[in-house]
């Protein structure tokens, strides 16, 4: 199902992940967040931006543990918990945050 961003149609797969990762920009992220019922706050952007940086280097989203540790280091210890991440992304930081960041869905037994 495609999503509509600023008058442009962008393809997503049946689960709402971008078909073409390079089609991502901040407006796309906002629309994707909207379909998830999320309002993008600064806190959300911090996570989404970190995921994109990590993906660029490693071609995969970070393990939840790596993410919480990095967030804790960068944004303060109280934010370096999976509880904090789940508050931001209730369907799970790995899957929901990846979707909004325009990254592929992590697969396997996760």
């Amino acid at each position: 199902m495609p999503i509509e961003v600023n008058g442009v149609s962008i393809a997503t797969d049946e689960e709402g992940y971008l078909e073409d990762l390079s089609a991502w920009n901040e407006d796309v992220a906002k629309v994707l967040a909207d379909t998830e019922g999320l309002d993008m706050s600064n806190d959300h952007w911090e996570i989404v931006n970190f995921l994109r940086e990590y993906y660029e280097e490693y071609q995969i989203a970070p393990a939840v543990r790596v993410l919480t540790k990095a967030v804790g280091k960068k944004l303060g210890k109280e934010k370096g918990t999976s509880k904090y991440l789940y508050e931001l992304f209730p369907y799970g930081p790995a899957k929901q945050a990846c979707k909004i960041a325009g990254l592929p869905k992590p697969t396997g037994c996760v």
Partner: protein, 510 residues
Amino acid sequence: MADFETPELKEYSVIPALERDTMKGTQPFIAKPDHQASLGFPGELVDNWKDVALDKMGDLLSRYRSFQVYLDSCVKCGACTDKCHYFLGTSDPKNMPVARQDLLRSVYRRYFTFAGKWFPKLVGARDMDKEVLDEWYSYFHQCSQCRRCSVFCPYGIDTAEISMAAREIMDAVGVGQKYCNEIIGKVFKVGNNLGLPEKALKDTLLDLEEEILDDTGVPVKLPLDVKGADILLVTPSADFFAEPHIDGLIGYAKVFHEAGVSWTLSSHASEAGNFGMFIGSYENMQNIAVRIREAALDLGVKRLVHGECGHAWRVAYSFWNTLAGPFDFLDQNYPIPQHICEFTWDLIQQDKLKFDKSENDHMTLTFHDSCNVARATRMGDKPGGQFDIPRNVIKAVCNNYVDMEESTIKEATFCCGGGGGLLTDDLMEVRVKGALPRMEALNDVVEEHGVTNMAAICAICKSQFTKVLPYYKMPMDMIVSVHQLVSEAIILTGADDGSDEQETSSESED
């Protein structure tokens, strides 16, 4: 959440009144042509699909004697009808094991038996048509191949094997399941189900080493691709990624460290899981299994140890020898393969590990037997070792342990609801409803005995429970890895005195 109702938890399990077709049409996403291609399956439904399907069924009948015996021997006694967690959770009579088998058996009778060829109506034989195929796709993806029904079948008919055959036939005609087939493709391309490239794996392991050092002051290593190491650990890639899996991985590393053995992980075999079994494809299962043999030979290890993964342990324990054997190049003085629970229990018996059990005193544990471990394998050298050894390990590191109701554990264990290739978001309704019997048994010990946490030794179970527990109003982090408990309690030689150990993220219920 989703557009279905979570079943109500009752005080005791009730056999539901039948609700015909309530799960009709519920099905996972169909694999795309490129997911199919790397597994050697046609990209989409082939034109002569009916002929291809029947040829494939004939092929499977000639290859697996068991398959034909299962199709021929059912006497419709009904012993299996109320044994399936998906039936108990959905009330759909087609989720009764015998009805699920009959979806395929009816076609088998039509084309492969004398009576069915000549008097189809008399023997419940059906033509293979698109409607039947669609029904297969739906209901053979509402079976987690857990084999609980086969325990209660007087003939030992194994619905899992029939469901695997149905999936293999569907793959052969071009109708594969996206979740499984995309994942198998990733194993061939990247080396694991997750699609975790070597560089990310390496840095994740370094990160974990740093974490253990910070927590304990001990330089516990998680080595990768070390040639000449004694032990190769193969584990599900979820152990490198998800919670609480990763805490289990830390536990294995601490045990190896204290044992003083040399060990390594492999980037080539960075996956113990084998989804080839779920889709019933011998060839794909073999291609995945062989990667572990190749890694073992390449690294020159003497032993193979398995991390906490249910179906991987089944493939290794029951099928490895014919799939990827002989393993005559390994040290024959140790079990081949060996489970991490066996490894740890052996050390505990030799008094080589020291624990501070009070580290786990904030929890009261119960143990979920994972179906593939419970009903398809063994641990140790005594019958029932697969039940006793994980429990022995837990009791050696925790003071508070309670079993769930007897008819829901050990060989009668209920599936988590997400096994057999169903652990995907597009099957959330099936997963949540299928978890009902386990949730009822868990809720029972929570209320009766103050159980706060449930431990498991399967990556699928752990991820499934993390997801479905909240549907049943229980905290997602109730589920823990067995070696996470070991990790909390183990006393590392040279550790910081009264180290600022991390709390496990469990939430007390009482």
